[in-house]
């Protein structure tokens, strides 16, 4: 699956969200909340962020709390500090870990900021729960409107 890649040399401070996988080769500080995708922190990567994702694979440096819907895996080169919560967990020999582990039940659903149930809802309620793609379209539309006047101007000229 295609993934967003924060390459080595790049630092992101803030919140990363969405429905695409994220691969961290650089640095991320803040939080990462992915709906149904996974996070890969490579050997060069470093993240200090609270994470909510499907799977989290750590081969680099990580500090924070993770709630995964499926698997958290720490490779031999991983150095992790924090609280891990997932139904499946793998810590390989050589990895460094300090913190707390809580294994939730398999198939546990995430906290109730989850996907909205498809019921006939009024437009306002739907608008309040835009998924990432719609948010992008909305911002794009706003910018489009702001530049639309130029079309009218050129017609008058």
């Amino acid at each position: 699956m295609a993934a967003s890649v924060i390459v080595s040399g790049v630092k992101v401070e803030g919140k990363i969200s969405g429905d695409a996988d994220v691969k961290i080769d650089g640095e991320v500080y803040g939080e990462i909340i992915l709906a149904n995708s996974s996070i890969f922190i490579t050997q060069q990567g470093k993240a200090e962020a609270d994470i909510k994702a499907l799977n989290v694979f750590i081969a680099g440096e990580y500090k924070g709390n993770i709630v995964a819907q499926e698997l958290i895996q720490i490779s031999p080169s991983g150095r992790v500090q924090g609280e891990l919560k997932a139904p499946y967990l793998a810590i390989e020999k050589g990895a460094m870990f300090s913190g707390k582990i809580e294994m939730s039940e398999a198939g546990a659903t995430p906290e109730p900021e989850a996907v909205p149930v498809p019921v006939a809802v009024p437009a306002a309620a739907v608008a309040a729960e835009l998924d990432q793609e719609d948010e992008q379209d909305l911002l794009a539309e706003e910018i489009q409107e702001e530049t639309q006047d130029l079309d009218d101007l050129s017609k008058e000229a």
Partner: protein, 108 residues
């Protein structure tokens, strides 16, 4: 250190915050916040940015809103729709681009 080291934010990923560093960055998803990088930033045709940008080269092919400052050049391509104040020694706005904002051509 790799040459052609390019960070890519694909469609579906949203970043709210600051992106900084020394690499090329390509945005096909959404970015809200600010960018301060030493190399090239490309807002791809599908990309959407609402951010103040500082880079050496900035190429806008998609939707963008925010101030842009480049030490080298700014290019607004035909598929771009931008609301921005631009500042760079060289600026190219291609036919078909929708642009609204101030332009200042000057060295940094």
């Amino acid at each position: 250190m790799d040459e052609n080291n390019e960070a890519i934010i694909i469609g579906g990923t949203v970043i709210e915050g600051k992106v900084s560093g020394d690499a090329n960055v390509r945005i096909e998803g959404t970015l809200r916040g600010s960018v301060d990088i030493k190399q090239t930033l490309v807002v791809a045709a599908k990309g959407c940015t609402e951010a103040d940008i500082k880079a050496s080269v900035v190429v806008i092919e998609g939707h963008h809103r925010g101030d842009v400052q480049a030490s080298d050049m700014i290019q607004i391509t035909p598929s771009a729709k931008a609301v921005a104040n631009l500042k760079a020694p060289a600026i190219a706005i291609e036919k078909g681009a929708k642009f609204c904002g101030n332009i200042e051509m000057s060295g940094e």
